[in-house]
Symmetry: C2
Subunit: 552 residues, 2 copies
Amino acid sequence: MSQFDKHAATLDAAIEAVGSRRAWSAYADSPALHPSGPDGQIAGAAAFAAMLGRPAPLTQPGTLVTQTVEVSPYTGESLAIAYPRTDPGDLLARSLAGAQQWSRAAAEVRVGVCLEILERLYLRNFEFQAASVHTTGMSLGMAYTGNGTNALDRGLEALAHAHLAMSRVTPSATWERRFGTDSSTLTKRYSLMPRGVAVAIACASFPAWNTYPALMASLATGNPVIVKPHPSSVIMLAMAVQTCREVIEEAGFDPDLVTLAVDGPEAPIAVALVEDPRCGIVDFTGSPRFGGWLETHLPRTLVFTETAGVNPVVLDSVDDLARVTRTIAGGLCLFSAQMCTSPQNIYLPREGVRTATGQATYDEVVESLLEAIEAIVGAPRRAAALLGAIQADVTERVAARAGSGARLLRRGTAYEHPEYPSARTRKPMVAEVEIDDSGLCDEEQFGPNVFIVPVDDSATGLSRAAGTAKTHGAIASYVYSTDDGFLDAADEAFLDAGANLTANSVGPMPMNFSAAYSDYHVSGLNPAGTATLTDEAFIAGRFRIVQSRRQI
Amino acid sequence: MSQFDKHAATLDAAIEAVGSRRAWSAYADSPALHPSGPDGQIAGAAAFAAMLGRPAPLTQPGTLVTQTVEVSPYTGESLAIAYPRTDPGDLLARSLAGAQQWSRAAAEVRVGVCLEILERLYLRNFEFQAASVHTTGMSLGMAYTGNGTNALDRGLEALAHAHLAMSRVTPSATWERRFGTDSSTLTKRYSLMPRGVAVAIACASFPAWNTYPALMASLATGNPVIVKPHPSSVIMLAMAVQTCREVIEEAGFDPDLVTLAVDGPEAPIAVALVEDPRCGIVDFTGSPRFGGWLETHLPRTLVFTETAGVNPVVLDSVDDLARVTRTIAGGLCLFSAQMCTSPQNIYLPREGVRTATGQATYDEVVESLLEAIEAIVGAPRRAAALLGAIQADVTERVAARAGSGARLLRRGTAYEHPEYPSARTRKPMVAEVEIDDSGLCDEEQFGPNVFIVPVDDSATGLSRAAGTAKTHGAIASYVYSTDDGFLDAADEAFLDAGANLTANSVGPMPMNFSAAYSDYHVSGLNPAGTATLTDEAFIAGRFRIVQSRRQI
């Protein structure tokens, strides 16, 4: 049975889900449902532990260099894993060696290989979980899903779109037409051709969630892929690349169709990779600075970016204030707000907000939010499970800078992690900022940094939040109102801003949860980026159609 | 009945055709089948004649300026039609005035308006025919199809793709999922949002063929469109814009959703239009120089270009030499090779080519081709019907320059037009060029300029032709061989070059005919451009999806 046939039911279900956008998942979020059974987590952790201080298990040639900057946010120690390093030009040449064979294979063969890769990645999910914890700083629970099952679902979603897009191109046709009194008949063949080498540049905190969709979309459409991890968060992607290489080789193709490009902060190689004319596609997740450079300096390359969003919460009115502030506190704490969908600016009317039990004053709302945060961060086990650790030390400097310009309501001090005394942790800093302080309000202050912005009324908050989304970017926006008119106005304002909106989220779903197959992600209409991840525009340009017609 | 319902059968048939890629047309190529009956052509010519020397019939405000550079290639006289001129910034503001209403309308309403526009354009096809003759220089017959029915079919094709792409996005969903022991339910709305003002920049010789697909793709997906004609070929697009405005206004929308941006060569406005941040999409047909500028200077704008191709003919072996050279001569003469698919370089083995009746020497092949050309250009009525006139005087300078560097086999002198003694006409110039003369071989020499390139063998010709296609661009490539192995090798070579190939075309279909719904056009894989016109990649980025979800 072909790999495509083996996984046909999974692909069919994914196709149904991207069409209907109903809730579905191919990879269960609960570790208890993983096929490796109750010992899976222990075995996965052991497998990861065995990688430390050694060359990464990767069948890719290159000069082995120990990655000193890959440091666990929990232990503060370097993982000391060595990775092969290769000159960018050599890596591109290697990528292309097997590219013609790959591009000439039937699309279903490539899709089958990609489906098998996802399956194998899922089977290793406990290993990925352990690796994720000690690179990204996620809590154990979140690592299983955020860099595991949810990322795999996003990858399958992109693969389903790629399969659909390729399937819609008929491979051949016979064409006959009269010209005057005679007629011509031509047989036509339509071939799907790749764009070139795809370079997927990952971020440190969420290496898989954006990389898997890019990898699947590019590989399935015939492009070799070079995965370029962040220097401080390599091992997960090294493991993923190795899995790709194994599946590809088993299927009879060149394993160098997927390679890893490791660099250190002292000598970055991303620019050399993407500026090479052999590179046809770039997928990037990371800073607005480099993302902006990529968007403007590679006009002949297909570039997808996800950079930064200044995600707002607009408060108008609520039924149950405590429930809302609990939900918002959860959103502010989840993975220490190191998520692209984490809220940052909370627009709060000076007159407070209406509730089912009467008006809550401005101060009461603030107090309720601070209490809800304290309920989380004051309980070390709960804090550890929800906040995890801070991936990068630079995030602490962001907090210090952000806090220095604002009226602090709660300091962003560390919390004591119950298991890892050396963990780099941080409670959310909450500050009050005036609406005209655009230096703070209109920029992403990455990490657990929250600004409460007093506004004259909720309409002003809405207008400012939507305006900032349009001009500075937003990946997720939130509004709370019991007034349908206000919600409709919010819909219109965020539609015009080209920003996604979530209304009245009160759990149990985390407010900033983004569901594969159902939630669109980056809209591409505001500065937060162009990597829509989840629609046809993310696929369409990755392959081209070349025609051959013969007269018969 | 809505406009969408009125034209549903046409749209359905177009959808079937873009899927199956079988021969189909919504707009008959034969004037005898036009609904306006036998007097249609006379009435159309009269309607066009009535436009001369007056303000264009266009309900668009602006300062009326007589377009002095719009000169008939047949009479040498200015059409002296006055067009409204508007400051680019004002025009963009005008475009956006009704944009929100248009973007909020149901996709089917927009598609219905677009279908009605195409129908109205078809009803005026005899007027367009007359206008086309006296701007592009096409013969009467070709004007009816090349700037008429075929262009309308390409427009409908793009519209079908736009409709399909939008239809694949479900407008809403209900999403329910368990989190722990509880569950969350959200209703989700997915809105299609336009990219911004679309600017469609047309070329002088084929104003409709590329503009209609761009216009349909952008307008249907919610973007206002500014049509920017070439200063020497305005009236057809002014008429088309006016038709759009009438249909749009009848449907209750702002007619300024489609406007015309006229300039003169003394003060071009294209750069000001496309550099404005309100411009979200550019479709361009024209010179590689400006096309390249657009591709590299507007990184945040969706840019589609069709520039120049160096289209090769590779000769290996033929059944009937005379039939092949007749077909090639037809391709070289058709509209004086002012088509993006016109062949230019003929790679001919020094040993000649095999035929069913034995080897034809190099000189015999050349002689046969020259005779076939002479058979056309030596008969004034046939020449007039096939070659038409030369659109731009610059084309004559190209011929002079190209001819000066090569061994002339036949001069590119004028032929005497039987009806218009002042017509700017030109027989094909045929010259022999060495393969290493890359200045001539590797550039498009626009117009009826043909180079015969002697090669050591057909494999060398194939390799060079495919290499030039890859590095310098080709929109159409041609090969003649009776050897299946050679044809397969040609398929592989042009696949790798990312260039479309036609094998063994011997009529009655003109070799460079490109059929809507069946033939893919620009591949996007070589420097000839990125405007694929006819696939999902031409549509996907023109709209984005914005999500609103509400918890219930």
